[in-house]
């Protein structure tokens, strides 16, 4: 990472207003999909198909959420065009944070299932 190489480089231009608005619409649609997924799995509109979706519900939901997260970070927070250093400063903690959540949930699930149950 030779930091000095980029010092003379002007700040790259941000995306246009049209891109921002389109991203906003995609975010809205993804949110609608999240809620819709809930409605058709557990909510008022849950038909016989609901039970079939159930095993995929959490992964699908997390996937949608991750998509929204990535869109905001890449476009609205400009990580896509900005210096890679910013991406590193954000993504490295994000990885540790995710591992932390997973680690704690797994360790505590084991603890509740075996140790505490006796």
């Amino acid at each position: 990472m030779d930091a000095h190489a980029t010092s003379a480089e002007p700040e790259r231009s941000h995306p246009s207003v049209g891109v921002y608005v389109r991203i906003g619409l995609v975010l809205f649609v993804l949110t609608a999909l999240e809620v819709g997924l809930y409605e058709f799995t557990y909510g008022g509109h849950a038909g016989p198909a609901g039970a079939a979706i159930q095993p995929f519900f959490v992964p699908l939901l997390l996937l949608l959420s991750a998509g929204k997260f990535a869109l905001v970070a890449m476009f609205y927070m400009h990580l896509k065009q900005d210096h890679r250093l910013f991406t590193g400063v954000f993504v490295f903690p994000l990885i540790i944070a995710t591992v932390l959540i997973l680690g704690l949930v797994v360790l505590e699930a084991y603890h509740f299932a075996f140790a505490r149950a006796g």
Binding site: G24, T31, V58, K68, H83, V105, F112
Partner: protein
């Protein structure tokens, strides 16, 4: 908001602004803050059904026969979620206007951002009072504790963001955010987007996943 010792340096070693690098560093650090709060929520989620209700997705009948309905109001929170997402859009539009030196556009979009932020906080205040009326407090059960602490700290971040953006709106109104100073807004906007993406995670984890 210009606390940089550029003494002698016209350029920083990376060519990046000190304040922008600092806010990204802070955001990175905040990832761990919210990860810990979310872990707390998920860890207790594994066991809280043993405690007294009400619960988010499950009905619960007390030993005295009182029925507590599931407490989460998805339509209300979906509205809050949409508000926060749109506020993210509005604040980038405000920034684009600031960079082009369009003060009117800046004031309009930043004003709309603020409005969304205030409505989101209002939504949360309403939701919290509603829950308390339905018998859910910090003390009731582990759902109550971890829910209020997680969403409460997120709400505190939103409130700080609102105060910050409001200060910038006043500055912009007084014509003190010319394009050369648009970085002041860019930094606040990065914080605001971060608070938004935290909600992007909280929304499914707390409200949608059973």
């Amino acid at each position: 908001m210009t606390d940089t010792a550029h003494a002698g340096h016209l350029e920083t070693a990376t060519g990046l602004d000190n304040r922008k690098l600092a806010i990204w560093t802070f955001i990175g650090s905040e990832c761990l803050f919210f990860a810990s709060l979310i872990s707390n929520y998920l860890v207790h989620k594994e066991t809280w059904l043993t405690g007294p209700g009400p619960f988010p997705h499950e009905a619960w009948t007390s030993p005295a026969g009182k029925v507590f309905e599931p407490i989460i109001e998805i339509p209300l929170v979906t509205l809050g979620t949409a508000l926060l997402l749109f506020s993210s859009l509005f604040v980038v539009l405000a920034l684009a206007n600031a960079q082009r030196g369009n003060r009117k556009g800046l004031l309009l979009w930043l004003g709309l951002t603020l409005l969304c932020g205030v409505f989101f906080v209002g939504m949360q205040v309403y939701e919290f009072t509603h829950f308390v009326h339905k018998g859910l407090t910090l003390k009731t059960n582990l759902f109550g504790g971890s829910f209020f602490v997680l969403t409460g700290f997120h709400g505190t971040h939103v409130t700080i963001g609102v105060i910050w953006l409001f200060t910038l709106w006043i500055e912009a109104f007084r014509g003190k955010i010319p394009p050369a100073k648009s970085l002041n807004l860019e930094i606040a906007a990065l914080y605001w987007h971060f608070v938004d993406v935290v909600w992007v995670v909280i929304f499914p984890v707390v409200y949608l996943i059973k």
